[in-house]
């Protein structure tokens, strides 16, 4: 057990993978000598060499397209897209090529490519640096999408992503990079596609993932002061979604609130609300309620606090659920 930031935990996870899988390597913009704009790959080029930590030309489609080609040759590329808003030049390669190669080849080929993307807002940045595009990828069959909310998960889930035979998008909650936590480098937390109940409760289920898990836990603590027992689920995997864990919780609590930074319309929250409504119809005391971004492009930093779901927005949603 040791305490480290999520940034360091991802760095250590990558280091472990590079050390034990000679076919694995990192590729991306500025990830070599600089260590990436967030320093996630700091020190890895010095340790493993430019051959294993490749600075690429500034071309996102090129990064993903060549990664797919290298995967077809038996290599294990771990790509970094510098920011959430810059993944779109690679959108075609990810959705029409990477996600489909398995089925197009009738199961003969696979593309074990990992795509790391720092995502989410709350860091006061300029445009295209604070987005949450996970639903766009979750809507694409063939991809797996996971996102850690704490250092221990970050350390393990990045390694599990590399071990997976399918393409995995690994969304890193950038405003939690500096959040410290205990990391157990001996014992894996298990299946990366399973949700975790991170706080038990009996009156409502609050589902979140990535950057909003600490907010959800804080909201649950605040609700407890008002006498409400809120169960918090860290989804961890956005595709597939562990509906079984959410279902079991909602059958117990009777109320569901789902929170994410991405706009609610067409988002992950809607998918969970719909599925859980089907599965838990007779247990629900209130309709499922979503807390998320508004239907607008991610706003300027000066007003992002009004856009991002915070403790009060979650409490307001819980109050609405309790009002039924």
């Amino acid at each position: 057990m040791s305490t480290m930031t999520m940034a360091k935990a991802i760095n250590e996870g990558l280091r472990a993978k590079l050390a034990n899988d000679p076919k694995s390597f990192l590729m991306g913009e500025d990830i070599g000598s600089l260590g990436g704009v967030y320093r996630i790959t700091e020190g890895l080029k010095a340790e493993f060499g430019a051959h294993r930590v490749m600075d690429t030309p500034l071309a996102e489609s090129g990064i993903i397209g060549t990664a797919l080609g290298m995967a077809l040759r038996g290599h294990r590329p771990i790509c970094e897209i510098q920011f959430d808003g810059f993944v779109f030049p690679a959108f075609n390669q990810i959705t029409t090529q990477l996600a489909k190669i398995r089925t197009r080849s009738d199961g003969q080929l696979s593309a074990p490519v990992v795509i790391r993307i720092p995502y989410g807002g709350g860091i006061g940045s300029i445009e295209h640096h604070s987005e949450s595009p996970e639903a766009l990828f979750a809507h694409t069959p063939g991809l797996r999408i996971i996102t850690p909310s704490n250092a221990n998960d970050a350390y393990w889930m990045i390694q599990q992503a590399v071990e997976c035979k399918d393409p995995v998008i690994f969304f890193e909650p950038k405003r939690r990079y500096w959040l410290k936590g205990e990391v157990d480098t001996e014992n894996s937390p298990g299946d990366p596609f399973k949700a975790h109940v991170v706080r038990e409760g009996s009156d409502a289920t609050l589902v979140a993932y990535g950057p909003l898990v600490p907010v959800a836990l804080a909201a649950a603590n605040a609700a407890a002061e008002d006498g409400h027992s809120v169960e918090v689920i860290d989804l961890r995997s956005i595709s597939p979604i562990d509906f079984d864990t959410v279902e079991a919780s909602v059958n117990k609590t009777g109320r569901l609130v789902v929170a994410h930074e991405a706009p609610t319309f067409g988002g992950i929250g809607g998918e969970i609300a719909s599925r859980i409504s089907e599965r838990c119809f007779y247990s629900l005391e209130a309709p499922a309620i979503r807390v998320g971004g508004f239907h607008m492009p991610y706003p300027v930093a000066r007003v992002e606090e009004h856009y991002l779901p915070d403790i009060d927005r979650m409490l307001e949603a819980l109050d609405r659920a309790f009002a039924y």
Binding site: S61, T66, M70, A71, K100, S105, D106
Partner: protein
């Protein structure tokens, strides 16, 4: 039309473009100082020299009249060829043309959703494909039926995609011929990545068999950003890849002039790689330049760009209608440059093949066509359960849940079907 004239491959007289055009050699073809383009040179295509290639220049070893021409760099690649190989070039070109006719017929008869004719481009494909070693790897577009033949595919496999029973149709690892890619130019990045993978393998294990990759694309796809990015990556990492562009002058209905104001090969210098423009209807020249390029790439000198000047004699696909956008005269002009006719003339003139040979080729082609027809008509349907099984490599709960639902749903019709069957019998 300018498009046709531009691709004229060496005979003077018909080469003046219809519209004023800057001389490429004085313009975009000049590489910057320090360019990696080799300075050796002085061949007819002018492409290994550091100046640009004119619109009418191309390496040509066998002209449309069946006469041979010497090239200081490339002739050596064909002079040593066994007559069997030369006859093989003809046989393969005739075979794929016969196959193309059969596939077109199958589409017209409603047996295929669509067909993509290759007629006119046989030399570009058989020449380049034949130049590859077994360990080399090809990344095709969706029209590389000739390359498929040279890689040893059963051509009937190509029709599965067009019959709608699979989006693949063969195991690429068996022939090192990747699946067809319909999103234009996406495969050029996969090709470069695969080539980078070969380099990585060589670093990890120097006994790895050296190999190179051929990235096929067309003049239309040359405008896609992925071609640009693939060339940047290939040059930066000295990837062993040959970019083989079949400039067939038409991107469905849009003429080449809309894609580029200069011969595409002149773009090579901008990426710091050698470029060669070749008469794409001359199978000997295509074979020679591709061998040169593959040797160059395989021996660690980085990528090469080949522009094969050819012509899409047929329609873009069976859903296309070229009479709406191009002149018959242009098609007729290109028919005089037919890749098969010139090789037949040469083989007969040199007494390398006789009537019996050509008769045999025709009969073999008919036999293959019959095999393709038989195999295609015998193809069963696809099974959606197999599609459920191939979305992911590892177990996936949502896919499993939806498959279970589907199985129950299908089973719910069993009783109804039984009743209907009994009702019908009674």
């Amino acid at each position: 039309m300018g498009a046709a004239q531009q691709a004229d491959t060496g005979t003077s007289g018909s080469g003046a473009p219809a519209s004023p055009r800057p001389q490429a050699g004085n313009q975009a073809g000049n590489p910057p100082a320090g360019s990696q383009a080799p300075s050796s040179a002085g061949n007819s295509a002018g492409v290994l020299r550091n100046a640009g290639v004119g619109p009418d220049e191309a390496v040509q070893l066998l002209d449309e009249h069946g006469a041979t021409h010497h090239d200081a760099t490339f002739s050596s690649y064909i002079e040593k060829l066994d007559p069997d190989v030369l006859r093989g070039f003809y046989r393969d070109m005739a075979t794929v043309r016969r196959f193309d006719t059969e596939a077109t017929a199958l589409q017209r008869q409603g047996e295929l959703a669509l067909w993509v004719p290759v007629i006119g481009q046989e030399a570009a494909q058989i020449g380049s494909g034949s130049a590859m070693n077994k360990a080399d790897y090809a990344f095709p577009t969706y029209r590389e039926h000739g390359v498929a033949l040279t890689r040893g595919l059963d051509l009937a496999d190509l029709l599965k995609l067009f019959r709608g029973v699979t989006n693949g149709g063969w195991d690429p690892r068996e022939t090192n011929f990747h699946l067809y890619t319909l999103v234009l130019a996406a495969q050029t990045l996969h090709a470069v990545g695969y080539a980078m993978g070969i380099s990585r393998d060589l670093v990890a294990d120097p006994t790895t068999e050296p190999a190179a990759v051929v990235a096929y694309f067309g003049d239309g796809a040359s405008s896609e950003g992925d071609v640009h990015e693939s060339m940047v990556f290939a040059a930066s990492y000295d990837a062993p890849v040959v970019f083989f562009c079949q400039n067939n002058n038409w991107a469905i209905s849009v003429p080449f002039e809309v894609q580029s104001k200069i011969p595409l090969v002149n773009r090579a210098a901008g990426y710091g790689m050698p470029g060669i423009r070749v008469d794409g209807n001359d199978v000997l020249a295509v074979y020679a330049v591709t061998q040169w390029a593959l040797d160059h790439a395989r021996s660690g000198h980085g990528p090469v760009f080949i522009e094969a000047s050819t012509y899409r004699v047929g329609a873009h696909t069976t859903a296309d209608d070229p009479t709406k956008y191009r002149m018959n005269a242009e098609e007729e002009l290109w028919k005089t440059r037919d890749p098969l006719a010139r090789l037949e003339t040469y083989l007969r003139a040199e007494n390398l093949a006789d009537d019996a040979f050509f008769e045999q080729v025709k009969n073999d082609g008919d036999e293959l066509a019959a095999h393709v027809r038989r195999t295609t008509l015998a193809l069963g349907s696809a099974d959606i359960r197999h599609k459920f099984a191939t979305v992911y490599a590892e177990a996936h709960p949502l896919v499993a849940e939806e498959l279970a639902w589907f199985e129950n749903y299908e089973a719910s019709f069993a009783d109804v079907d039984t009743e209907n069957a009994q009702g019908g019998a009674a």
